[in-house]
Symmetry: C2
Subunit: 427 residues, 2 copies
Amino acid sequence: MEKVLNPDKSTWETLLKRPTQTVADIEKIVNEIFSEVKTKGDSAVLKYTQLFDGITPDTILVSGEEINQAVKSVSSELKEAIDLAKANITTFHAAQKTEQVSVETTNGVTCWQEKRPIQKVGLYIPGGSAPLFSTILMLAVPATIAGCKEIMLCTPPDKNGEINPAILYTAKLCGIAKIYKIGGIQAIAAMTFGTETVPSVYKIFGPGNQYVTVAKQLATKYNVAIDMPAGPSELLVYADDTANPAFVASDLLSQAEHGPDSQVILVSTSEKMIAETEKEVVKQLEQLPRKEIATQAIENSKLILINSEKEALEMINEYAPEHFIVISENEDYFVTNIQNAGSVFIGNYTPESAGDYASGTNHTLPTNGYAKQYSGVNLDSFLRSMTFQKITETGIKNIGSAIEIMAEAEGLQAHKNAVSLRLKSLK
Amino acid sequence: MEKVLNPDKSTWETLLKRPTQTVADIEKIVNEIFSEVKTKGDSAVLKYTQLFDGITPDTILVSGEEINQAVKSVSSELKEAIDLAKANITTFHAAQKTEQVSVETTNGVTCWQEKRPIQKVGLYIPGGSAPLFSTILMLAVPATIAGCKEIMLCTPPDKNGEINPAILYTAKLCGIAKIYKIGGIQAIAAMTFGTETVPSVYKIFGPGNQYVTVAKQLATKYNVAIDMPAGPSELLVYADDTANPAFVASDLLSQAEHGPDSQVILVSTSEKMIAETEKEVVKQLEQLPRKEIATQAIENSKLILINSEKEALEMINEYAPEHFIVISENEDYFVTNIQNAGSVFIGNYTPESAGDYASGTNHTLPTNGYAKQYSGVNLDSFLRSMTFQKITETGIKNIGSAIEIMAEAEGLQAHKNAVSLRLKSLK
C-alpha cells in the first residue's frame, strides 16, 4: 500500500483518483448484441449464451424441478443464515415505508404525494467465482415490500447449464417466480426489449462486470431505468488509536478481495495506527484464498496520514466512499458531518461485511464517487412518487388569477385560457 | 385530431406511440462541445455562446446591478403572483420532509437511514420564446428546503446579452446567488466539468430542447446525475359526460401550445364528449397566439373512444402520461388504480396549468412513458438516503455466525475473516 503523509490539499484530486476503466471498446460489442437481441429475441440470447458461457441450456426459464432440487441441496446451516439475514433486511426496509403526504396549500387546493410501486422490475445476479445470493435478498426483499407486480431474475448458467443452488434457493425464498438462465450483455438486452420468453421490464437492478455495467447504461437509452451506475467496490476507513488495527486490516482486505480494481483507503491522524494496520494487512493477506486478487487491489490502495480530524472529514467527503468505516473517539463528529458516503459503519464491532450480508442495510451502494449524488438501493428505489391535486370552485378562484398572470408572462396563452374559461363559468 | 373508435388491444402499441425523435446526429456536436469546454473552459463557453446565441456577453456571471434592475422592472402584479406560487410550492415540498428511520434489527444491531442534501446542484432554465421563470420555483424551492449548499443557475442570454427580468427576479427571490449567462450544450458542459468561472455540480436539473436533453444524457457519463431523461410535454385526459367539453379542450390546447412535438390524447367512453370536445378544440384553437405550434401538435394527437372504464384505465397505465386529467363520475376508480402517471389532476376545476404554476405540486415530470419508472422532481430529488449502522459486542455475537456462513458460501473468505477476528476477540 502506498503511504502518504500529510498530503497538501492541492494533491488530493490526484491522490483520490480511482483506478480508471476504459469502456469505449466495450460499447461496440454491447451495441451489437443489443440490436441483435432486439430483432432476433431468444435465438440471439441463445447464441451469445453459447458464445460467452459455453453452453446452450435446454430451456432459458429455470424449471420448478431444478428449483426443488436446489432447495434440497442447500445445507440447513446456510438456510438458517439466509433466513436471519432476510429477516433483518425485511425489518429495515419495511421501516422505510412512508405515508401519503397531503396538504391544502390554499383554501380549496388539495395536493398530495403518494408512492406507487414500479410494476415490472428485473434483477441481475452475476455468476462467476462468487455466487452472490446475498444480492438477491438486497433486491428482492425491498421489491416485494414495495409491491412490484412482476419481479424477474436473470443469472448466467455455469458450464453444465446449471445455476448455483444457493441462488435458486434464495430466489425461491423471496418469491421470485421467474428465473432465467441468461447472463451478461444478453441478459440486460433481453430485459430491455423482451424476447419470446423473457418479458421486458421498466427498471433493472443488480451488479455485474464492466460489460454488464455498459449494457445497463445503454439500456437507459431505451426507456429502461437502472438502479445506479456501478463501478468497482471500495472502502475508506477512518481510524484513530481507539481502533483495533487487526480489525481495520481485515476490513480493508474484505473489500480488496472483491477484485483487482477494488480500492481501499485508510485515513488516520495516527502514525502508529497506520504502521500497525500495514503490518496486519501483510500478515492477514498471506492466509487469504483470494490472495492474488487482494494483492492487486492493495497495490491500488493508500494509507493516508492527515493533520486533523477536520481535514480528514473534508477529504472523506471529497472522496465520497461507497463504504465508510469510522472507528474514533470522536465518531459523532464524523457521523454528524459526513455528507458523501454510501453507507457508514461505526465502531470496532461493525465490520463492513455485516452490512454486506445480515445487519439489515442494503449492500447495493454508489461507487466511484457517485455517493455525492446517488442513494444506495432502498425501498424508494422500487417506488415512484406521484402527485395528485383536486381543486374546488373556491380553490380555482383563489389561485386562478396568479396562474393567469404567470402564464401570460411566460407567453403561454392557452395555459392562461384553461383557467380563464373556468373562472368565467363561475361568475 | 385523429379519431379512433374502440381500438383493439393489439393496436395499442402503435396507437400510443409518441412522435419520434432522432438524436444520433445531435450526439456528435454535443460530444465536440463537451470536449472543448472540458479542455478550454470559459473561452469555449464564450465561443459557443457567440455561435448559438449571437452574442459575447461582457461577463458570464450576472452582476448584482443587473439583478437589481430586473427586480425593479417586474410588475408588482407579477411579483405577487410569483409570491403566491412560491408559498404553495414551499408548503407542499416542505411537507415532504421525512424523519430518520432507525431500527434495532437484532439485539445489538442498530441500523438507520438518513437523508442528506446533495451539496452542489445546477439548474438549467431555457431561454427562447417562453421565459420559464416558473421552473426556477419548481427547482430552487425544493433545493433550498433540502439544504443544498451550492445552488447555481444557467440560462442563455438574449441577442442583447440580457436575461429576462422575470427569470432574474425569481432567481433572486429563491436566494440563488450565482446566475450564469450560458445556454444550451455549453451550459450543461460547463456545469459538468467546471470552468474558470463556473463551478462544476453533482446534479443538473431542468428542461431544455433536444440539444440540452442529449447534453444532459452525456453529462451522466462524467459522474454527474440528472433529474430525469426529458421529452416533449404530453397530456392525457379521461373525461366522461360529467366533464365540461370546453374545459377539456382548453386543457388539451394548453399542452399542445408547448411545441409542435407535444402530444395530447383524450380517452372517453362517451361519443358525445369526444364530438363536443373536438368542436371546442377547433373553436378555441383559432384564438391562440401560438396557433401554429398548437395546430401541429394537435395533428399528432388523438381522440380515443373506448369500451369501458376498465379498458380506459389499462390503456392509460400503458401510455403512462406525464399529465393525467380525470373528470369522471368514477374519479375514485382512476385515482386509486392509476399506476403510471407523472401527476394527476382531478375534476372540472383542476386544469393542468394549475400544477404548472401555482397549486404547489412540481411541474418537472417524467415524459415519454418514463412515468413507469421515474418520479417527478420532488424534495427527495435533492437528497440522498444514506444508511448507518452500529453493532455492539452482543450484536456481532448475534449475527456474526450468519455472516461467516454466507461469506464462506459466496467464496469471500476475507469477508468472513473480518467477523471471525472480532468473534475470537470476544471469547
